[in-house]
Each structure stands twice: as structure tokens, then as C-alpha cells.
């Protein structure tokens, strides 16, 4: 696949610059979050590993840039199939941590296929929309196949069990379908049906998941378990105040009151040390990233490009919204990492790929005019 020179000269620099800025903040923050951890000794510090992950992510980003996105969409079902197979492998061979099976170890590395599925689900859905006659709105029968495309990985992730990520896939699905267009009457019917099915979810949830949900609704119910984490997180964030306690000076994290402070709760470490102003800047960066993603989507010349850029942007958006909402105690603790900030390779690489795909759409908008 040769890269058109016009494409190359049209590489969108805004996206990588924003992302690297956020990554840099993330690494700085991880250094602080890990600085006080005693007893982790040995091995590379997480913040250094995170630098490697960003590097690897950039390579993945370039790889996603190199191939024409229409070709990627054409192979959408195959990519989707591969990631579903990986999920299956997780269920069979995966490693258990904290009572769930999410990781797949491949030659010294381990990664979470459930992260990859976020991308391939979007691509497969676009492939389906693309193959249909464009422009016609979805009706209920037409939604059957997309629904199956959603449910296969969602169900497998639920089995791991990882309620948060499964729910995440549902959110992405809804975001795509609503944007692609749905017939008004079908939309109303489905909304009603969805509302009535929701309580049924309660029965398939594991005990610890129910616990988290109930604790979220009333954190004081369980001051020793999950509620402890929520309360501590809120104290950490709030104690940051307007200007923060200063870098490396967060007392909540010093005293290790915060749980998972390098992964799901990195945001509270940042908020404690940098205060409202720091957080405001971070949120503005995320918001800009998302708006720029929309900007790219809007300028795309064809429907699949619009959807691809939009879908990838929504993956970033939901990650930010759910994670920050959880840390601030307005959403349940579901274990969704903060994009580009939380420690972890799979998440970083996959999100970099998402950014690569948005850039891909952006740089090929002129090529397509020919």
C-alpha cells in the first residue's frame, strides 16, 4: 500500500500533539503515584514502563495510519473475528487476577483482548453499515445483525467477568447506531424495551458486581470495602482544592489510602496534587481532543470515514467520562481506565491505534476527491 504524498503532507498534527501532551501529564503523574509505594521493589518502575508503552503505542498509531482506512474497514469482519477468537482464548487460557480472567499471556507479555475489541467492534459495525444501502435509517429487523456483532464479545467479556467493559461496548454500540441513524418509531420501541430489560441484568451479575453497584448508590453502606475506596477517592480529589497540594505532595496517596492509584484511580492522585485548575486544564485537553476528532469526522468525504473517526472519538470520550465520573463518585466503580493516563499497555496501545485511525481518515480526505 503506497502512501499518497498528498496524504503524507496532510497528516493531522493536532491529534498526536494533544495525545502526547496528555501522555506526558500521565507519566509525570504516574511517577508521583508510584513514588510512595513501598515494597513493590524490583523490576522497572511503572512510570518508566509507561514510557515504553507510549513508544509502542506510537508505532501502532503509525501502523494504523499507513493502511488506507477503507481497506481496514473492508477487512472489518476478519479483524473482528480475530479479536473474538482472542477473547475466547482468554476464557480458556487466560490468567486470573482479582477474581476475573482478563489477561492473555503471549511470550512474556500479557495483554487484554477486551481492549482491542473496543476498536474492532466499531470497525465491524461500520463495515455492516457501509455494506447496507447508505442513508436509510435502521429499523428493528435491520438491527439484528449489528446486535449479534455486539453481543458475542459483550457476552464473552461478561463471562470473564468484566461488567464495566461489557457495558462499555454497549455504550459504543448505542453511540454508533444512533449516529448512523435509526428510525424514530424503532428508537422509541427499543428505548422502552431496554428500560424494561435493565432490571434483569441484576440476576446475571456476580455478587461483587452487585455489591459495587449497591455501594455506589450508598457508599456508606460498606465503609470497609468498595465504599472505602469511593470515600477515600472523594477526599483525595476534594483536598486538592483550587490549586492542589503540589506535585509529589498528595497526602492521601502518600498514606496509601487510595486504591489502584496507578490504574483506575490515577485521576484522584492528579486532582489531589494539581487542584481544580490543573484538572480543568486536563479536562480541556481531553475535550479538545474529542472535538478535534469530531472535526475530522465532519470533514470526511464518505460515510464510512465519518463513522470511523466519530466511533474512535467516542471510545476516548466514554473512557474519560466513565473513569472520571467513577473517581468523583458520580458513577459506580467499574474498572474502566482513564485514556492515556492510567498505567497499562493494552489500553495505551489500543487508544493510540484509535487516534491513528482518526488521523488516517483526516489525511485521506483529499485523496478521495480524485
Amino acid at each position: 500500500m503506497k502512501i499518497d504524498r498528498r496524504g503524507l503532507s496532510n497528516i493531522d498534527w493536532v491529534l498526536p500533539v494533544l495525545v502526547l501532551l496528555i501522555c506526558a501529564i500521565g507519566i509525570t503523574n504516574l511517577y508521583s503515584a508510584g513514588a510512595n509505594l513501598i515494597g513493590v521493589g524490583g523490576g522497572t518502575a511503572p512510570w518508566i514502563k509507561q514510557v515504553y508503552w507510549v513508544g509502542l503505542g506510537l508505532v501502532a498509531m503509525l501502523a494504523c495510519l499507513a493502511v488506507d482506512y477503507r481497506l481496514i474497514i473492508r477487512f472489518g469482519y476478519i479483524l473482528y473475528g480475530i479479536s473474538v477468537l482472542l477473547l475466547l482464548a482468554v476464557l480458556i487460557y487466560g490468567d486470573m487476577t482479582h477474581g476475573s480472567q482478563r489477561w492473555l499471556a503471549v511470550g512474556g507479555f500479557s495483554f487484554q483482548p477486551s481492549e482491542l475489541v473496543k476498536l474492532t467492534l466499531v470497525i465491524a459495525l461500520i463495515k455492516y453499515v457501509d455494506d447496507r444501502n447508505v442513508g436509510t435509517s435502521f429499523t428493528i429487523p435491520a438491527l439484528l445483525i449489528p446486535f449479534i456483532i455486539l453481543m458475542i464479545p459483550a457476552f464473552m467479556i461478561l463471562k470473564q467477568p468484566d461488567l464495566g467493559t461489557a457495558f462499555f461496548l454497549v455504550l459504543i454500540f448505542i453511540s454508533i447506531i444512533l449516529f448512523a441513524g435509526i428510525e424514530r418509531r424503532s428508537f422509541i420501541k427499543l428505548s422502552i424495551a431496554g428500560m424494561s430489560v435493565l432490571p434483569g441484568l441484576w440476576f446475571i451479575m456476580k455478587d461483587y458486581q452487585k455489591n459495587r453497584l449497591v455501594t455506589f448508590l450508598n457508599p456508606e453502606r460498606d465503609p470497609l470495602g468498595t465504599g472505602y475506596h469511593i470515600i477515600q477517592s472523594i477526599i483525595a480529589v476534594g483536598s486538592g482544592g483550587l490549586l492542589g497540594k503540589g506535585y509529589l505532595k498528595g497526602t492521601q496517596s502518600q498514606l496509601k489510602f487510595l486504591p489502584e492509584q496507578q490504574t483506575d484511580f490515577v485521576f484522584s492522585v492528579f486532582a489531589e496534587e494539581w487542584g481544580f485548575l490543573g484538572v480543568l486544564i486536563l479536562l480541556i485537553l481531553f475535550f479538545s481532543l474529542i472535538l478535534w476528532g469530531f472535526h475530522v469526522a465532519r470533514r470526511a468525504r464518505e460515510f464510512s470515514g465519518v463513522l470511523l473517526a466519530y466511533g474512535m472519538t467516542m471510545i476516548i470520550f466514554w473512557g474519560v467520562f466513565i473513569n472520571v465520573g467513577m473517581v468523583l463518585g458520580i458513577l459506580p466503580v467499574v474498572g474502566i481506565p482513564l485514556p492515556f493516563m492510567s498505567y497499562g499497555g493494552s489500553c495505551m496501545v489500543v487508544l493510540m491505534m484509535a487516534v491513528g485511525l482518526i488521523m488516517n481518515v483526516s489525511m485521506r480526505r483529499f485523496v478521495l476527491q480524485s
Binding site: 513501598i38 477503507r70 447508505v134 442513508g135 449516529f179 457508599p219 456508606e220 453502606r221 460498606d222 465503609p223 470497609l224 465504599g227 472505602y228 470515600i231 477515600q232 472523594i234 477526599i235 483525595a236 480529589v237 476534594g238 483536598s239 486538592g240 482544592g241 483550587l242 497540594k245 497526602t251 492521601q252 498514606l255 496509601k256 489510602f257 486532582a271 489531589e272 487542584g275 481544580f276 484538572v279 480543568l280 479536562l283 481531553f286 475535550f287 474529542i290 472535538l291 469530531f294 469526522a297 465532519r298 470526511a300 468525504r301 464518505e302 460515510f303 464510512s304 465519518v306 466519530y310 470520550f317 467520562f321 472520571v324 465520573g325 468523583l328 463518585g329 458520580i330 478521495l368 480524485s370
Partner: protein, 628 residues
């Protein structure tokens, strides 16, 4: 490619403008929510939360529930809770837990105290919760630790409730004891809500109704200042105390049984035949369950578990004894019901019973002469029952034994019950892969051979004979009450079947049992009372077969080869209020070793527990007997 893209471009992307405006608006809205929440937490409540995070530390602690009480039927408390003090460490507050513990040990050494905790320190995952180092510590250590708290960051004194068994060893087996949950138990689904370190019932009633007794842990999150003083309770969930269990037991009667039992090992079970309630249940030798309060010391445990007398075993439900001559009533019932014999038919006993190439003997070597069924029971003639047993066959005997509740669990709410054994032809073929021998039927017909029954099963056999034929599930729980005393659940008597006997046959058997105790030739005369109201049956269970010549000199036989003495009786005979079963392991003859013990129990009960006047009025039986 171009053709494809033109197809895709049918729709004008400007149509999406509206969708992007909507999507953008939603994004803006979402970020506004996050920003607003941050403003609220950081700017509006910022100072308050900062104060909280900087000046104070937050400490979480579990509030342990009080375990439910166990109470006897007359309101006497059998188990309650008392306070004990633990020295614990909160790992997240001790910068270096291992160092702090070594400081603690050093402090002890200075005062010539020894550290009693585990040598290894397993901090676990929830580092913000206190972890017990030493349990049930004395005041000397507590005072030392409190005085040196500044040197021992993270070390706290934890007050925990422990079990107090008011009757100690007297009721140890029935009540059971509690202890820390083991790793194996933690994996068991029954205990999935428990955390490591939880205290659970390990045996007896404590274990059988653990779920009712245990209650529910609460927790609190408190702010403490640098000195560890509690400033403010942030969140608190009260512990829910466990329910109280009211048993059918009679604590005083239990004490009487305990004192009456003068053998080394054995069991006494007292049942109310009218509804199957257990009034007393003694097993000897015993142990003091208070030792288990906070984890028994290793040396004590060693001593107990290596004891050949097995003091932990609840013999009343978990030891199997040959029912011996007690079983003759089952064989007699089978023969009567099958029409094999009538009350008048006689069989002649010459003291021996040649069978195949063996000769079985009657316990009375000179023989009993001609006997009818009633006389055979009174004098406990072996030859009579050899004859009946052979005619019945082992499978028919087994059928009746099962109808009397032998060979299956009674279902009593005490952990560790055994089901016993009632042999049949099929059983032997399946288990031992050998065909049944007729000679084995001869042994079974006097309650020996493969037969095995628990004292609880045996007492129920006699209770059901004396109440007119109703077999009850043994009842040890009367009701469950809330800590405030409100009734939660009550357990009425549970009839589970009727004996397959006519009223006339039951009457005959009871009359024979009256003869056992009250007639000149009866084997149970040691239980005779001047009221002449006891009916019973003796049993002497062979442990090993001894040459006949040695039989007479009981005291010269080594202890472990001596016969078990058994005695079962019901009082008063016409409408019994209690049925007592006594087993004295290696005690010798049932009539001489077991019957006197039963008599002491009966005497005390009849003197101190008068009949409930309401019974005579409301019960059919009572009112009938009042008629002239």
C-alpha cells in the same frame, strides 16, 4: 475505488451537520457535569476535605457481631459472650509492620514477657484493617502496649467478644465450640460471606446452626488524630447480633446425668417420648470448650487429639455400638407383626443353640427352660431370639430395624451425626463382596454382628415404643429468638412415621419391659423404684468374643475387651415422660453397670420435674387415664 466512493457518497455529508451539533452538545454537557462536580468537591468543599486529609487519619474497623446465645428450655444460659483483648496491627498505619512487631517483641523482652503471636506476619490485602497479632492477652501486656503507643505506630488494642460456655465440659459435645475459620472452610460455599479470621461454629449446635448464631459484621470508618483518638465517625454500619437459640435441653438435668455417669467413657441421652425433644445428652470423656475460645494452644490440642479416649467425639451421635439385647425388642416386634409367634407360644431354652458346626450359647448357661415372648424379654433369653431371628431372616429384621429409625440419620441439628448400620444380604454382598452366612443372622437377632447404632437412635427406639408407636425426629432446637426476645422461628415436634405394630403388640412389649425392671427374674432390677413405674431393657454388648470360661471374671479382663453396658428405660410406664438411654463403654453388664445410672437420672427427674398440669387436661391420654 472511485466508483465505490461515489456510491458511498450518495448521501451529502452536510446532512451530518445536525448530528455533530447534537453530539458536540452532549460532549459539552458531559464535561460540564464533570467540571461541576470537581468545582463542588475541590472549591466548595475543598477546605473541609483538605482538613480531613491532612490533620487526621482515617481508620476502618470491623464491628464484630455478638454471637447469639444458646439457652436451655428453662431459660438458663448455656453459652454467652464475654470480652477479650487482642493486640492488633493496622498495616497501613505502621510504616514498616515487620519493624514495629520487632519493636513490640523487644518491649516484651524488657519486661520478661514472651510474644505469643505467630512468628510470620501475613498482612493480607486489606491493609487498612486491623490484623490480630496476639489473642486474649493479659492486663500486663495491655498496659505496656498502651503506655508505649507512641513507639508502636499502627499497634492497637482490639476488644473482641469471645464465647463463654457456662457448663464447661458438662455440655461440651452438644453445644460444640467455635474457632477461627480454616482455609479449607473459607473455600466452602457455605462460608462464602466470611473473611479470613472469622469465628465460626466448629462442632455441635454451634456448627449446625452457625448461620443463625453468627449475626452480621458491621464496620465503621472513623477519623483519628495522631494519638489514635477517635474524632469523628464518618460512616458506620452497626453489627447485627446473631439470633438466640432456645434448645429443648434441661441444663440441670444435664448436670445430674453428668454426675450420675460414673464410667470412664460412654453416653447418656434423655428424650421426651411425647415429642422427641432431647432433654439431656452427655458424652464422656469430655473437654472444656472454653479452651477453644481464641484458638487453642498447640500443646493442648496435641494432648487432646492424641488421647485414645477421643474426648472430642460426641458419643451420643457419632459412636456406633452394637445394640445388643436392646435389639431383642425389634426382633420381637418383627416376629409379632409377621404373625410368626403369638403371646402364648413358647420356645424351650437349654442354654445352647447348635447351628451348623457352631454352637451359640445363651447368656444363662443352664438355660431358661420353656419361655413365652414376654418371659423371654424379661429374662433376655438369647436362644429364644436366635430361633425367632433365623425364622425371620436378616432382611426382614432389617426392614423392622429401619422402621424403628436405625441405620439412617435422625437429622438432629448437631454436627457429626453417624447413620449407623443395619446389615442385609444385599449390603454384605455389595460392601464386602461375600454372601451372607446364616450364622450371622443368629448374631444379628441378639443385636450383635454387623449391627451398629448411636445412643440417639437407640433412645428413640424406646421412646417410640413407650409413646404408642410414633417415631419423632429428635428435637434439640425449640425456637429461634431475636436478641430482644421476639420469636423468629419455632420448631414444632416432627413425627416422621409410625411403627408397623398394632396397639396390642406395643402393649405386650411395654408390659415385658415393665417386667424387666419390676419382676423377680428381670435383668433390669437395678433400676427398680418403689413406685414400680419404670419399664426398660438391659443390654450387654460384646466387644470381642471371649472363651466362655473367662466370662465370669469381668474385672480380670483387660479394659478394652470388656463388654459395653447398655440400659434403656421409660418412666412412668403407662404414659412416659422421659426415656433414658445409658451406654457405659466397657462397663460390663447392662443390668449392673448402666441401669443404676439410669435410675439416678429418673429419680431426680421424677422428683424435680413434676408433670405439667396442662398436659393431663389437654392430652387425650391424660384425660383417659383420669377416667375410673
Amino acid at each position: 475505488m472511485p466508483s465505490r466512493s461515489s456510491k458511498l457518497n450518495k448521501k451529502d455529508p452536510s446532512d451530518f451537520k445536525m448530528r455533530f451539533i447534537v453530539a458536540g452538545f452532549i460532549m459539552f454537557f458531559a464535561f460540564t457535569i464533570l467540571g461541576g462536580r470537581l468545582w463542588y468537591l475541590q472549591v466548595i468543599k475543598g477546605d473541609e476535605l483538605r482538613e480531613r486529609s491532612e490533620n487526621n487519619r482515617i481508620r476502618s474497623q470491623e464491628i464484630r457481631p455478638l454471637r447469639g446465645l444458646i439457652i436451655d428450655s428453662r431459660g438458663m444460659i448455656l453459652v454467652d459472650n464475654i470480652a477479650s483483648f487482642d493486640i492488633a496491627i493496622i498495616p497501613s498505619e505502621a510504616k514498616d509492620p515487620a519493624f514495629v512487631v520487632s519493636e513490640l517483641k523487644r518491649l516484651y523482652e524488657g519486661r520478661n514477657l514472651s510474644y505469643a503471636g505467630s512468628p510470620t506476619l501475613d498482612l493480607g490485602r486489606r491493609r487498612f484493617l486491623p490484623l490480630s497479632l496476639e489473642r486474649d492477652v493479659a492486663w500486663e501486656k495491655l498496659a505496656l502496649v498502651e503506655a508505649s503507643s507512641a513507639m508502636l505506630p499502627g499497634i492497637v488494642v482490639d476488644v473482641v467478644p469471645v464465647r463463654n460456655y457456662t457448663m464447661g465440659p458438662v455440655m461440651a459435645h452438644v453445644l460444640g465450640y467455635v474457632g477461627e475459620i480454616s482455609p479449607a472452610e473459607l473455600r466452602h460455599p457455605q462460608y462464602r460471606d466470611h473473611r479470613p479470621g472469622a469465628i465460626i461454629g466448629k462442632s455441635g449446635i454451634e456448627r449446625a446452626v452457625d448461620h443463625l448464631l453468627m449475626g452480621k459484621s458491621g464496620g465503621e470508618q472513623v477519623e483519628v488524630n495522631v494519638a489514635g483518638q477517635k474524632l469523628n465517625v464518618l460512616a458506620m454500619v452497626d453489627a447485627v447480633p446473631g439470633s438466640n437459640v432456645v434448645t429443648t435441653l434441661d441444663g440441670e438435668l444435664q448436670q445430674v446425668c453428668w454426675e450420675a455417669f460414673d464410667g470412664d467413657a460412654g453416653s447418656i441421652v434423655v428424650m421426651n417420648p411425647r415429642d422427641g425433644s432431647i432433654l439431656a445428652m452427655v458424652s464422656k470423656p469430655s473437654f472444656d470448650p472454653n479452651l477453644f475460645n481464641r484458638g487453642i494452644k498447640f500443646r493442648d490440642w496435641e494432648a487432646f487429639s492424641s488421647d485414645r479416649m477421643a474426648p472430642f467425639k460426641n458419643r451420643s451421635v457419632a459412636s456406633l455400638y452394637p445394640p445388643a439385647s436392646l435389639f431383642k425388642l425389634v426382633v420381637a416386634a418383627a416376629a409379632l407383626d409377621q404373625g410368626l409367634i403369638s403371646a402364648e407360644d413358647t420356645i424351650v431354652c437349654r442354654g445352647t443353640f447348635p447351628f451348623g458346626d457352631r454352637t451359640f450359647r445363651c447368656w444363662r448357661r443352664e438355660g431358661h427352660g420353656a419361655l413365652n415372648l414376654r418371659q423371654a424379654i424379661v429374662q433376655s433369653c438369647d436362644v429364644f431370639f436366635y430361633t425367632l431371628g433365623l425364622q425371620l431372616g436378616v432382611d426382614t429384621i432389617a426392614e423392622y430395624a429401619r422402621a424403628f429409625g436405625l441405620g439412617s440419620l435422625t437429622g438432629i441439628e448437631i454436627a457429626g451425626e453417624k447413620e449407623g448400620l443395619v446389615p442385609t444380604r444385599g449390603w454384605k454382598l455389595q460392601q464386602l463382596r461375600e454372601p451372607w452366612q446364616q450364622g450371622e443372622t443368629v448374631s444379628v437377632s441378639i443385636g450383635q454382628g454387623f449391627l451398629g447404632a448411636t445412643p440417639l437412635q437407640l433412645v428413640r427406639v424406646f421412646a417410640s415404643l413407650s409413646n404408642g408407636g410414633m417415631l419423632y425426629k429428635p428435637r434439640i432446637l425449640d425456637r429461634i429468638e431475636s436478641p430482644q426476645g421476639d420469636l423468629i422461628e419455632s420448631f414444632p415436634a416432627e413425627p416422621i412415621g409410625r411403627l408397623p405394630l398394632s396397639a396390642e403388640h406395643i402393649k405386650l412389649l411395654n408390659s415385658a419391659m415393665w417386667g424387666v425392671v419390676n419382676e423377680p427374674r428381670g435383668t433390669g432390677r437395678a433400676a427398680h423404684r418403689k413406685e414400680r413405674d419404670v419399664c426398660g431393657k438391659t443390654g450387654t454388648a460384646q466387644v470381642v468374643s471371649m472363651p466362655d470360661d473367662d466370662k465370669s471374671k469381668e474385672s480380670e479382663i483387660p479394659y478394652r475387651f470388656r463388654d459395653h453396658a447398655l440400659f434403656a428405660c421409660s418412666v412412668p410406664c403407662e404414659d412416659p415422660r422421659i426415656t433414658v438411654l445409658v451406654v457405659v463403654e466397657h462397663g460390663g453388664h447392662g443390668g449392673s453397670a448402666a441401669a443404676p445410672i439410669a435410675k439416678k437420672v429418673v429419680d431426680w427427674y421424677m422428683k424435680n420435674r413434676p408433670e405439667d398440669p396442662a398436659y393431663a387436661i389437654f392430652s387425650d391420654k391424660g384425660s383417659m387415664e383420669k377416667q375410673p
